[in-house]
Amino acid sequence: MLRADYILKLLEKNERIDGRKLDEFRKIEIERNIIEKAEGSARVRIGKTDVIAGIKMEIETPFPDTPNEGVLKTHAEFAPIAHPDFLPGPPSEDATELARVVDRGIRESNSIELEKLCILEGQKVWGVFIDIHIINHDGNLIDASSLAALLALMNTKIPKYENDKIVRGEYVAKLPISHYPINVTVSKIMNKYLVDLNREEEDVVDAWLSIAVREDNYLCSMQKGGKGLNIKDVDEMIDLAIKKSKELRKLL
């Protein structure tokens, strides 16, 4: 039997190929501060999915319409080490989407207090660069990357800035974080709702909805993929995301 058929067959009985429940995450392992050269960093493993987020603080020019605020930039690289299908070169469509979904979860929840990152109004502000580096891809990159990004931001320190230069390795403060969005991607296969698909399951997914949930249960960003969903699907998927976000938030 084809692997895909096998997965679907099991799902009919509400079973998954690795024995998990439909709403169960794989084992999550977290390492913080793994990159000393970065101002913040974290590694998140969800099962065999392995993601590093690194934060670099750089001096930037603010956007003209927010001259007093730091800027946030998020980039994701599907490093070719991580999967036989990943190739060197500029970010693919999927890598671009990943970066933008991670970025929106952080940005729209007002997680970082950007207004505290101004150095000289209209001229110099701190730029917070989130870089997502995929080490091994076994599904659910969005949740793993979002979690890694938030954890990395939470341990990010602001370097000393003196005589128009960043003094690397000396820090003056922690990056001010005021909200903690957790991203949960709920997937629909055969009218069932699952979380944390592995790569094989992703191959048979019908649709998915990625939802960033804040600690106050406000939803801060959503991204749908795959085929159509009806209103009831959305309803149930949001419920499940909120529920799972509470579990994941305990890892922070």
Binding site: F63, D65, T66, E69, P91, E93, T96, E97, A99, R100, R104, E108, S109, L209, R214, N217, Y218, L219, C220, S221, M222, Q223, K224, G225, G226, K227, G228, L229, N230, I231, D233, V234, D235, I238, D239, I242
Partner: protein
């Protein structure tokens, strides 16, 4: 990009352009605007103007991109350089790459891709003017362009944005509202089956607000659907 501090988007229950919260802007739809294309349409929501063209199904080259059991849909959403306040530099931005992907996924579910193996259906969208809600405007234009191209479709796709300003839920955000809203939620759905094919959200909404907004979008979407039907009829009765 950023938000204007302390802007009041709602005064005496009305939006800055005079609309009521759930009121849409003036909508214009025209099918068959590009003679060379297999199908095409222009859709305007207020000042936002999108033109979509469909080429195909046509043989996809180079060969290694072909799928043996279905057509590939390729989609490019592009902002004309003069479409915004500040000139848009040519070349795809990350935002445009993402929007191209979600628009593609918004229309793929209504197509019979398995009927056209080894081919591509190319969807090209040009934003001639951008004043908010460009992706939903583009999806309406794409739905019409696909129908105009004679590509068999299970349903038309209707799209509309919802959002929240000053705590009030609104429909069809313009550019100013888009940049300064508390939340922005573009949605696309199949007109008859009501299958949601695009759903994105930015901002802060409770679950209840999302449900309410979806309901309003479905209701107002019916009007958009009727306009799509009319635009197609106008085309064939030309």
């Amino acid at each position: 990009m950023g938000k204007i501090k302390g802007i009041e988007l709602l005064k005496n229950g009305k939006r800055l352009d005079g609309r009521m919260p759930l009121e849409m802007r003036e909508i214009e739809m025209k099918v068959g605007v590009i003679p060379n294309a297999n199908g095409s349409a222009m859709v305007r929501f207020g000042k936002t103007i999108a033109v979509a063209a469909v080429y195909g199904p046509r043989l996809l080259l180079p060969k290694h991109l072909q799928e043996n059991d279905r057509a590939v849909v390729q989609c490019r959403y592009n902002m004309a350089p003069f479409s915004t306040d500040e000139r848009v530099k040519p070349g795809p931005t990350r935002r445009e790459i993402e929007i191209s992907k979600v628009i593609r996924q918004a229309v793929e579910p209504v197509l019979f891709l398995e009927n056209y193996p080894k081919t591509t259906i190319d969807i090209f969208i040009e934003i001639l003017q951008a004043d908010g809600s460009t992706r939903v405007t583009s999806i309406n234009a794409t739905s019409l362009a696909l129908a105009d191209a004679g590509v068999p479709m299970k349903d038309l796709v209707v799209a509309l944005s919802g959002g929240k300003i000053n705590g009030t839920l609104i429909l069809d955000l313009n550019g100013l509202e888009d940049n300064n809203s508390e939340a922005d939620m573009p949605v696309a759905f199949t007109a008859n089956k009501k299958e949601i094919t695009l759903l994105q959200m930015d901002g802060e909404l409770t679950k209840e607000e999302i449900k309410k907004l979806l309901k309003e979008i479905f209701t107002a979407g019916e009007k958009i659907y009727q306009m799509q039907i009319k635009a197609l009829k106008d085309r064939y009765s030309e």
